[in-house]
């Protein structure tokens, strides 16, 4: 019992090191930009999909979370 909790504590510490956090942040940002991209409107037709929830709600949240996580990453040890 005790070893499990100390193990998970160690795992936790490793997961929250600066390096890991920074990499995670970069991934979040990249995912955000991927979710944001897609085909646009053209001269022939207006595409309402450019304002889909995926593109203008979820994607920017991923990006923002990533950019904020970088701050945490910088301030943490490791």
């Amino acid at each position: 019992m005790n070893t499990i909790s100390s193990n998970s504590k160690r795992l936790f510490r490793v997961l929250l090191t600066s390096r890991v956090l920074l990499i995670a942040a970069c991934i979040l940002i990249a995912v955000g930009y991927l979710l944001m991209s897609g085909p646009g409107s053209t001269e022939q037709s207006f595409s309402p999909d450019i304002f889909s929830t995926r593109k203008i709600v979820i994607a920017p949240m991923f990006c923002l979370a990533g950019y904020l996580l970088i701050v945490v990453g910088i301030l943490r040890k490791g």
Partner: protein, 870 residues
């Protein structure tokens, strides 16, 4: 205590925040945040991401604007939070001697009071409050500046620990992010480099300081002219650069090199936010200014190439403003056709430095005459002290005779110069405090750092911008950073007063500290009593509703198009369409942008329910550099049934060609409108083919002389228009809103006249009632358009109500004219315009009173009129 300051600022800004979109760029920024569309260069992707998050808290689209405004309010409160921490940090170093182990109670009180007074002065100052209650990037950039400045002080505290580097890296990251908000934040870097130098240098030397100054300047230069355009030029290779930096970080052993690698990497990380702009521009949303959809286009977007280059020398450079320069300077001495160096200097000092910087500075710390934009006139937007004899002398007029329009102007704020005095004391104290501390020059070092912040975010911007006269709006918002620096000194002033009091009664040190603090606290409280009424935007829906009125003016069928020109008749329309979904069947087409090829591209695309605009030109024909203008060699051109006179026109610009192109292709079912605020110079050749229907004219091929469509106008004014809560008691109508209400007054006056001409007094009376109900005089003072209403009342035998309008206009014009007489002759030329306007009003009002035989009123004012006529 810092959190208390945050709470106070948050509550103040929360109470006074505008509940919907505001004028100028705010509508645009809200659309940028809510739907991730592309605003004007150089864009603000980080602002967009954060604003987008706040938009999610809105329960319905009409709440979106409020949420973005609240973001500004919170960020501004955050700025106040860091201001408090900064002031107390700096003050603590000077108040508490290093030899002392414990700080005594009176010292603690003094330090806290410094922070509270400085923070509150900035909270209630004019410029900062203005940006805090609307959706602009200035609140965010102030926040980041304050944060960065505080972080460097944080580093200073812990510089000896090996982990202190993370603060520097964090600052670098925020610098990178701040590019995606506003470049203003970069300007605090030189001041910060001095903090580092003073902390690290073993011995402070002049040479070292000179070096630091150069390094600081170089940092700004490298980011501004190296990193920002450089990264874009590299395109995809940026990824390689980033990888190389990571590798270098791990390979390098020297701490300084390692640190700079990390910093550069973090700047890039922050700067990567521009991915939002690139990706969203590729989606081609309806609002996509300059369409930065490729890396090279993003480069020119970031460089703001659209606005053209502004040189640093000479100061008199714009050939479009030849007359404006002359109006400002009087006679300009020239050599070989160009103004001499002395004249350039005179312009720089008198206009750019004095009028466009110190005036704004003094607004915030001494007092402001009114909220009317000034171009050097005695009556518009000067700084004042509040002491009559000083102001009389400053302005060269008799303040006691000021017209009630100006004395009742909510933008009139007087602080009697108290905040300025406090700030100056703070400077003196910082300077003098150096001698008696253990570390001999802490005070002077602080002074240098704050001064550098003050100069870089103030006068340095003045040098960089090289503004011409006749700016479209007041520019004080750009200098908020330097007012921040001065607020630090205002806080320090408290310590000086407290110290002087203490010296007199050493025995009652605590009591004297408390007395000094309370006295100084009165200064920001007095400021709040002055500035509250002209920053309280609660209950005001004018910007949203007036934008709505432009759109709703157009007929319901046929996907109409409206041609607009300025910011305020375009952005609020976009806001209505994009955020609230109003009239998406119509299309807004801004003539200024129609000069650029990427905007024409957008117009050729359908948007929501509006089909593409009828432009058949191919991209090769209108791309940049082609058909910018076309010489005109004919007197008239014929489009369908319409013969358009081009008399006196030497050439047609690209946007005018586009309008003609649209007219020739638009079928009669798809009407084109021009906004009422277009100005007489724009599309003047269509003047005779316009039909007034509301806030816009319909271009009609069959009409030969300007007309009014009475039925449609009546329907719009009575049933379709919204009036933005102008009937709410105590609502703040600032000068820009007033301009828009005047357009409504004008239209209503025309409608009443037309109805009376038809003999339809019943409906004319209805319009009068609507006017008085929706735009009551106490909120929206009558313009001379209200005389139509007076006529209508007289015709209906409502003599008292008619008299009220006529005599109020006459009284106000008499007040204005008699005051202008007190202006000293050398400055009276500037008031010529006001004088002419009020003479006209008086003349028209007298004519109405004569026509309806209102002898009493007529007799009362006719002598005035004849007197001023001479």
């Amino acid at each position: 205590m810092a959190w208390l300051m945050f709470a106070i600022a948050a509550v103040v800004y929360g109470l006074t925040v505008e509940p919907t979109a505001s004028l100028w760029d705010c509508s645009e920024f809200i659309v940028c945040g809510y739907k991730l569309e592309i605003g004007h260069p150089p864009g603000a992707p980080v602002f967009m991401l954060l604003a987008n998050l706040f938009c999610q808290f809105a329960s319905e689209p009409s709440q979106v604007a409020l949420m973005v405004n609240l973001l500004s309010a919170l960020l501004s409160a955050g700025c106040i939070f860091f201001l408090f921490l900064t002031i107390t940090h700096l003050a603590r170093k000077l108040v508490i001697r290093k030899t002392a182990v414990n700080s005594s109670l009176h010292q603690v009180i003094t330090i806290e009071a410094c922070g509270v007074v400085g923070a509150l002065i900035y909270t209630f100052s004019d410029t900062f409050w203005f940006s805090a209650v609307e959706a602009e990037v200035y609140a965010f950039s102030s926040f980041l500046t304050a944060l960065m400045f505080w972080l460097i002080l944080k580093w200073e505290e812990t510089a000896d620990s090996p982990r202190s580097d993370r603060w520097i890296i964090l600052i670098a990251y925020i610098t990178g992010l701040s590019i995606g908000v506003h470049l203003l934040c970069l300007l605090c870097l030189p001041a910060m480099s001095f903090v580092v130098y003073f902390r690290r240098a073993k011995r402070v030397t002049w040479l070292g300081m000179l070096g630091t100054l150069m390094v600081g300047g170089l940092l700004v230069g490298i980011i501004l002219y190296g990193v920002i355009p450089g990264v874009v030029k590299m395109g995809g290779y940026v990824v390689l650069l980033a990888v190389a930096l990571v590798v270098a970080y791990y390979k390098l052993r020297r701490r300084l090199l390692k640190l700079s690698m990390a910093c550069l990497l973090m700047i890039l990380a922050g700067y990567s936010s521009y991915g939002v702009i690139l990706i969203r521009a590729n989606a081609a949303p309806p609002m996509c200014e300059n369409a930065p959809s490729t890396v090279s286009k993003l480069g020119s977007y970031l460089n703001r190439e659209q606005y053209g280059e502004t040189p640093v020398f000479p100061r008199i450079y714009s050939m479009y403003h030849t007359k404006a320069y002359e109006d400002w300077l009087g006679h300009i001495k020239t050599r070989d056709g160009v103004p001499t160096k002395a004249e350039n200097l005179r312009f720089f000092l008198s206009y750019q430095v004095n009028f466009m910087y110190w005036r704004y500075f003094l607004w915030n710390f001494v007092g402001r005459q009114n909220n009317i934009q000034g171009h050097g006139e005695v009556e518009h937007g000067n700084w004042i002290t509040g002491f009559r004899w000083i102001d009389d002398w400053l302005l060269g007029c008799d303040i006691s005779k000021l017209p009630s329009d100006l004395t009742e102007n909510k933008g009139r704020n007087v602080f009697y110069g108290l905040p300025l005095l406090l700030g100056l004391l703070g400077i003196v104290w910082q300077w003098r405090r150096s001698g008696d501390c253990q570390s001999p020059s802490t005070g002077r070092q602080q002074l240098l750092v704050v001064t550098l912040l003050f100069v870089m975010t103030g006068l340095a911007i003045v040098v960089y911008l090289n503004q011409t006269p006749l700016q479209p709006r007041e520019r004080d918002y750009a200098y908020a950073g330097s007012f921040y620096a001065f607020a630090i000194w205002c806080g320090m002033g408290v310590a000086m007063i407290s110290e002087k009091l203490k010296v007199k009664n050493e025995r009652y040190a605590v009591a004297s500290a408390i007395i000094a603090s309370i006295c100084c606290l009165l200064v920001p409280l007095q400021m709040a009593t002055q500035t509250w009424d002209d920053h309280d935007r609660s209950d005001r829906y004018t910007c949203r509703d007036f934008g709505y009125n432009y759109l709703i003016t157009m007929q319901d069928e046929g996907n109409p198009i409206i041609l607009t020109n300025g910011d305020n008749d375009t952005f609020p329309l976009w806001y209505n369409q994009e955020v609230e979904g109003v009239r998406r069947d119509t299309r807004v087409c801004n003539l200024e942008y129609l000069q650029t090829d990427c905007y024409i591209d957008q117009m050729k695309r359908p948007a929501y329910d509006s089909p593409a605009l009828p432009i058949s030109w191919s991209r090769e024909d209108y791309q940049q550099g082609r058909m910018e203008y076309l010489p005109v060699d004919v007197d008239t051109i014929t489009i369908g049934d319409m013969t358009i006179s081009l008399k006196g026109k030497q050439y047609l610009l690209k946007n005018e060609l586009m309008v003609l192109e649209m007219l020739s292709h638009a079928n009669p079912e798809r009407p084109i409108y021009t906004s009422i605020s277009l100005g007489s110079d724009n599309l003047s050749f269509l003047r005779d083919h316009l039909v007034l229907e509301g806030l816009a004219y319909r271009i009609s091929p069959t009409v030969q002389k300007q007309q009014v469509d009475v039925e449609r106008l009546y329907d719009n004014v009575m049933h379709r228009f919204r009036y933005g809560g102008l009937s709410t008691k105590g609502i703040y109508v600032d000068e820009d809103v007033k301009h828009m209400t005047n357009a409504h007054q004008l239209v209503m006056g025309v409608l009443i006249d037309s109805l009376l001409r038809q003999g339809d007094t019943r409906r004319a009376m209805e319009v009068c009632r609507k006017w008085q109900q929706e735009m009551p005089q106490e909120n929206v003072p009558y313009t001379d358009a209200a005389l139509s209403m007076a006529c209508c009342f007289y015709l209906n035998n409502l003599m008292k109500e008619g008299d009220e309008i006529v005599s109020s206009l006459l009284r106000r014009s008499a007040e204005w004219l008699s005051w202008i007489e007190t202006v000293k002759p050398s400055r009276r030329a500037g008031s010529a315009y006001s004088c002419r306007i009020w003479m006209q009003t008086m003349e028209q009002a007298l004519a109405v009173s004569a026509q309806y035989e209102r002898t009493n009123i007529y007799q009362q004012y006719i002598q005035h009129y004849e007197h001023y006529l001479q």
